[in-house]
């Protein structure tokens, strides 16, 4: 049964140095507040996993929390590049960042395998591309019925997965709707999970398109209104596009970024 915790306590208890951590969200419901709490608590040596690392991953990488990134598309959606990500890959700043690079189809299937208790997934993927030569976690597999060759990718089973949802009830049952990406799979694939929510309510009224995560597969729920900003939470608030654009300026420059980081973590320079 999910425990209702503060964000601070949840991150303290669930996320440890060296963990493999997935904060998922597909432009919608991105667990930004949880990511920034990980920065505040100065976690180190994390293997960060996400299909679409965006500005909160840029922040985690720039803050030196990560030693490795497993991903399929890293960018500031609708704006441009992730400058902290590029700086870490190209110049090891502030620490070297190992990367394990996949396609969306591969990453999605890796979460599916993880959620399904299987060691690998099969897809038609990567054929003819240069990705398999760089990524050890892409291998051929042969169909035992037709002899056809396909691609296998290993399961993702993060130590912790963190997602943001619209609501939870007091027992910790979680409800999210709109674009829900791979959030269900990320939670089910993980050893531990944290869901930040816009609000905790008495009862989860059924809604069209809603995905429900029962309390017994969630480790902790934290009420964090606005916890997905500057991304959006359908039914609660819109995407703050200006913030995405503004991040381009902050992320572009180490000094600007360091100022931002000191402000976030309460350090006076």
């Amino acid at each position: 049964m999910a425990e209702l915790l503060s964000l601070e306590e949840a991150v303290d208890r669930l996320v440890h140095d060296g963990d493999t951590v997935a904060l998922e969200g597909f432009t919608h419901l991105i667990p930004v507040a949880a990511g920034q709490e990980i920065i505040r608590q100065r976690r180190r040596d994390l293997t960060l996993v996400r299909m679409t690392p965006d500005i909160v991953y840029d922040q985690l990488i720039g803050a030196g929390c990560a030693r490795k990134l497993v991903f399929s598309w890293g960018g500031n959606p609708g704006v441009g590049s992730l400058h902290r990500f590029r700086d870490a890959v190209q110049h090891d700043w502030p620490v070297p960042l190992e990367i394990e690079e996949h396609s969306h189809a591969g990453m999605a299937n890796r979460y599916v395998a993880g959620a399904s208790g299987l060691p690998f997934a099969v897809l038609r993927g990567y054929t003819g591309t240069d990705l398999p030569a760089q990524t050890a976690t892409i291998k051929p597999i042969t169909c035992p019925f037709t002899g056809e060759q396909l691609t296998a990718v290993p399961a993702l089973n993060p130590d912790v997965s963190i997602v943001h949802a619209q609501r939870a009830d007091r027992s910790g049952n979680v409800q999210m709707w709109g674009i829900t990406g791979v959030q269900k799979e990320a939670v089910l694939a993980a050893k531990r999970s944290l869901v930040t929510v816009e609000e905790i309510v008495d009862e989860l009224e059924p809604r069209p398109g809603a995905v429900v995560l029962p309390a017994w597969v969630v480790t902790a729920v934290a009420e964090v209104p606005g916890g997905a900003k500057p991304s959006y939470a359908a039914g609660y608030y819109e995407r703050d596009n200006a913030a995405y654009q503004a991040w381009d300026e902050v992320g572009r420059d180490r000094e600007e970024f360091t100022k931002w980081l000191n402000e976030l973590t309460g350090v006076t320079a």
């Binding site: 992730l82 969306h104 240069d130 056809e148």
Partner: protein, 252 residues
């Protein structure tokens, strides 16, 4: 029709025209999304737009800010999970057209969105990566690519094959068992390129109205082949320009 328009507007209009009514299109963000939404407003009201965020049949009233824009979910026939969109919808070849952008494109339509530079581990520029593109390029019935033409983008050979086009030439896709026909059209701000039927090398088949052939050749990083019956893309109509500008205004 002598309205003023920009090269980018010409590119969006030409890309939109390529999308037939009643087809289904897997839409990348940016230029492809703009063109697909213009097509739906102009000549293809029954164009089915599919976004990798899980939105099937999205009918956005403005240009989405990202492929996961709430407007896409609100107007979709169905919103499904990301694994489902790749496994149940893209992979089996249900989608007619994959509409992609690129950072680098080579003369056989191979796409690079991973790294610029020859060393993957020490790149000159680290790009966003693959996203959905490798499997879109593999599995859609055909692939349209839209990007601005210049010698840095249009290269002899891409530094990294993120998404497979025609490999080293005709027959490579069949040898690899790739189900779709691969890139059949590249739309740029200068003209249209199509694979040569014999060699699959991208060949200039249309120049946009008012564009000089020498300019297109100079903007291409390989020795550009030009079709014997090079055509001229008609300029955007007043209606097309109005629809495009309204779309951009509604999205500002």
């Amino acid at each position: 029709m002598s309205a003023q328009y920009s090269a980018d507007e010409m590119m969006s209009v030409a890309a939109a025209r390529a999308l037939g009514d009643g087809t289904s299109c897997f839409v990348g963000i940016g230029l492809p999304s703009k063109a697909a939404n213009l097509a739906r407003r102009a000549h293809a009201p029954n164009l089915t737009l599919i976004y990798e965020s899980g939105c099937l049949g999205a009918k956005p009233s403005r240009l989405p800010l990202s492929i996961g824009d709430g407007e896409l979910a609100d107007t979709a026939d169905a919103v499904i999970s990301v694994p489902e969109v790749f496994n149940y919808w893209l992979q089996p070849g249900r989608i007619d057209v994959g509409f992609l952008g690129a950072a680098q494109l080579d003369k056989f339509g191979n796409i690079n969105t991973t790294v610029i530079g020859s060393d993957y581990h020490d790149p000159k520029v680290r790009l966003p990566g693959a996203g959905g593109a490798p499997e879109i390029a593999a599995s859609c019935g055909e692939v349209f690519i839209v990007l601005r033409q210049n010698p840095r983008a249009f290269v002899e050979k891409v530094d990294f094959v993120t998404s497979f086009g025609h490999g080293t030439g005709k027959g490579d896709r069949a040898r690899l068992g790739l189900p779709g026909r691969g890139p059949t059209l590249v739309v740029t701000d200068l003209g249209l390129l199509r694979p040569d039927p014999e060699t699959s090398e991208l060949t200039l088949t249309e120049l946009h109205t008012g564009v000089d052939l020498d300019r297109a050749i100079a903007a291409t990083g390989w020795k550009l082949k030009v079709s014997d019956d090079l055509a001229t893309t008609p300029a955007p109509t007043a209606q097309e320009l109005t629809l495009l500008r309204d779309l951009e205004k509604a999205s500002a």
